[in-house]
Subunit: 359 residues, 2 copies
Amino acid sequence: METNRHNFSSGPSILPDEVLQKAAQAVLNFNDSGLSLIEISHRDPAFVDIINSARSQALELLNLQDKGYSALFLQGGASLEFVRVAYNLLSKNGTAGYINTGSWSNNALNEASYFGKIVEVASSKDKKYNYIPKNIEIPSNLDYLHITSNNTIYGTQFKEFPQTDIPLVCDMSSDIFSRVLDFTKFDLIYACAQKNAGTSGVNLVVVKNELLERIKKPIPNIMNYRKHIERESMYNTPSVFSVYVSYLTLNWLKDSGGVEAMERKNRAKAHLMYSEIDRNNLFFGNASVEDRSVMNATFFLKDEKLATQFNTLCLKEGIYGINGHRTAGGYRASIYNAMPITSVQLLVQVMQYFEAHFG
Amino acid sequence: METNRHNFSSGPSILPDEVLQKAAQAVLNFNDSGLSLIEISHRDPAFVDIINSARSQALELLNLQDKGYSALFLQGGASLEFVRVAYNLLSKNGTAGYINTGSWSNNALNEASYFGKIVEVASSKDKKYNYIPKNIEIPSNLDYLHITSNNTIYGTQFKEFPQTDIPLVCDMSSDIFSRVLDFTKFDLIYACAQKNAGTSGVNLVVVKNELLERIKKPIPNIMNYRKHIERESMYNTPSVFSVYVSYLTLNWLKDSGGVEAMERKNRAKAHLMYSEIDRNNLFFGNASVEDRSVMNATFFLKDEKLATQFNTLCLKEGIYGINGHRTAGGYRASIYNAMPITSVQLLVQVMQYFEAHFG
């Protein structure tokens, strides 16, 4: 499919063209079976291979294969993991720590509070979440510390992670597979798929098996990570199509050079984007410069009255999904792995043209 | 797509050809937008229309529009609704009643037991779930009574539902939209989509608003039906593709004459299937005749040694998904709404040929 659309949507978001082609083909006729992917049994060996291959691929891309981690593709979105994490890891009379760096951290914290005591270890709410707290003091009595690595709405991102012996749980929904990290520092990583790992309807959970061994409390099966691991991510019927799209996306990622190659391209795109935001007289960025997200560049018009003109120009050029989150306003260019630099170049040109004509 | 495959899978299961065609097209280019359905924002007006239209259509097909019910498309499968139902409806110190008619009822009961007191009001476990309990005495102190209307694994189905003033909760995963019922008798209906309402990754919940008004206990947002209704089924990012497949499937259903037309066709298919099971000397059915499911016909070889021959014959004729559930053995012909009678006729012919050659 050739289009002149440039998809800056924050999620669900841009997918590689070959992923879309293969996914559409599988809906019509899966593996030349004469049946659609979405009408075969999830226990069909062909689908069991797909989900297991996607689970292995996820671990491999994070360099966590053979390191005592399990990968799961579950349903419910990151929002369900907010609950599942606390259900599993917050012990009776225990306390969990949350670093509050935006709406999603805040939601994670609120949902966890139904399961026990929560402390907000640090917060950037005082400045409308436009920075990442530094030099955080972490209480030593926590069951776990929860972090949101990238804040999609406010455009900030952790560059360094707190050093701690406490189990580290990270919501990487919007920057997983986008940069090389030592992922062994994390005890549990979760991410909705619809940014860098596929489309909506499935969430990836990567968990250190050891972390789950200590759990004593009773947990319903569907909420229980151990049960999902035991059943190889097939405790109940998975979201078959979404798992397949993740499988295709992770394969594309691998074939495109893996996380290292993605990081290089993402840095180049972000550099281009932020250079223009800083240079252009009509716009400004408000995220703290050292904390700027490589995935979501947020920016604002200095003069809000020019919004209609800029929006019209974007629309005309096929730029989609550039509006900021409804709670933050302004603009947001989400430049995930699958976003080609040519689309960022176009957006930059549009911003330059806009400045030349309306500045 | 023309195939000579006959898909008797119990779920995910057969979908109408036009649904597959439209779903595949939307993955390539949604509504001629130049973007894929699976990479646009779920808050794009085009998708908001889809989910709202699917919600209205579901209520209309059940004849529940304007009767104080809400329809939601949530994630997690029926297995998550096992938990959500109890989380919402089982009050502190309250008791819920479950009728145990198979593995899924049993799972629903077990998952609910984490949230309070459960009584098993009736069970057919004594005869390996091959019948539906009758003349059930229902305690008057229950917060709700839970029923599984159709038992996919054992091939039984409620024909009459208990008369009670207690809120009736029904898992209709495998027979929703397959027969006309007075759906106002139910206070909460839920169903995974992958049998009669689409593909996996989404579950339909239809709930009487009044039922939720009495709830006092604190419930995390993602588990809270009221929150999902308040946010019009968009509390968190929905499973976009699966919702779209449900939308297409419900439209197909409506255009095909609605639930009444489905019931007529389903009865004809089931009659054909069970007549052959009863007539054929090599097979027998073990579900109690008056409780036989119109959706899933289970049957067994009298002589298990002939299994390889029958399986080979089925494979040769393009018959897919005919094996019984791994816990039940034997065979199971799932003949959901989208299954054409011609596929059932073929299966019957294969059974007759098999009898003629191996009897």
